[in-house]
């Protein structure tokens, strides 16, 4: 069973083309719109976002369910805790 079938995505954020710190700031805002347990899908092209999103989730206590490298972008699934 895939991550998304267990955790349906309720909000999408496309941060492609944006540089640090915008993907993080926009992710923070998007998570603010979610209820506990809901999942956000973030797309970003900033190479630094891989480490930054992971660190952001750790600091804020949200769960990074998966990180994928798609064609030309990184995809993150984050569950609000």
């Amino acid at each position: 069973m895939s991550v998304t079938s267990l955790n349906p995505v309720v909000l999408e954020l496309d941060a492609s083309g944006l540089s640090c710190p915008l993907p993080i700031l926009k992710t923070r805002k998007a998570i603010g719109q979610l209820q506990k347990g809901e999942v956000l899908r973030v797309l970003a092209t900033d190479h630094g976002a891989q480490k930054d999103i992971e660190s952001f989730c750790k600091q804020t206590g949200n769960a990074l369910l998966s990180t994928n490298e798609l064609e030309g972008a990184y995809e993150f699934l984050i569950r609000k805790n």
Partner: protein, 205 residues
């Protein structure tokens, strides 16, 4: 922790025993972990520069700190006050930044790939030298998807970053509070230092 609680959990322990020692170590770890989890990290930043390039560090770090859930205060002093103006008209001067590795943000591919040391692009006595350098930097940042200073300042305020301006330098440079955005409070060194003392992170930019 009350003595009675210790007696309840370890009724017959000798205070010098290994058992007591282990119990204390475990309890201490638990208490420290509780304290750490309940602690909201905080950051105090001093912003002293008013050029377009140096406007970025305080706003990037401030807004990101707030996004991580930290309490952030930025204290603006000297040329940092320019970052609080209602109408931002920040410029960058390559004169003081001889290492600035800018590339041309426009034109043919071969030109965009070339590294052009900024002071050599235009003779520095040429009128409009600074304006040109500023325009080139803004264009480059825009091409790379970097936020504008206006955007980052707005995002910082939205995330509850506290802005404090140094009243002494406001007076020295002849600014009026009406020159600045509304979300600023005014204070001096004696207000900043206690904030910095309690902060987990302090930065001078």
């Amino acid at each position: 922790m009350a003595i009675s609680e210790v007696k309840n959990e370890l009724p017959n322990a000798d205070p010098q025993s290994a058992e007591m020692n282990d119990w204390f170590e475990k309890k201490f770890e638990e208490e420290m972990k509780k304290r750490e989890d309940a602690h909201t990290p905080s950051m105090a930043i001093i912003a002293t520069r008013g050029t377009l390039d140096w406007a970025y560090p305080p706003f990037i770090l401030g807004s990101t700190g707030a996004a991580l859930g930290w309490d952030v205060t930025i204290f603006y002093t000297f040329y940092g006050l320019l970052l609080l103006q209602k109408d931002l008209n920040l410029k960058v001067s390559p004169l003081g930044n001889p290492a600035m590795p800018m590339k041309m943000p426009m034109g043919p591919d071969w030109l965009q790939k070339m590294n052009i040391p900024m002071p050599n692009v235009f003779p520095s006595i040429m009128p409009g030298f600074e304006t040109t350098a500023t325009a080139l930097m803004k264009k480059t940042f825009q091409n790379k998807g970097v936020a504008t200073i206006e955007e980052l300042r707005e995002l910082s305020l939205e995330a509850d970053v506290k802005f404090v301006a140094c009243q002494m330098t406001v007076d020295v440079f002849g600014f009026d509070h009406s020159d600045f955005i509304d979300d600023v409070s005014y204070a001096g060194a004696a207000s900043f230092l206690p904030v910095a003392q309690k902060a987990d992170v302090t930065l001078f930019t």
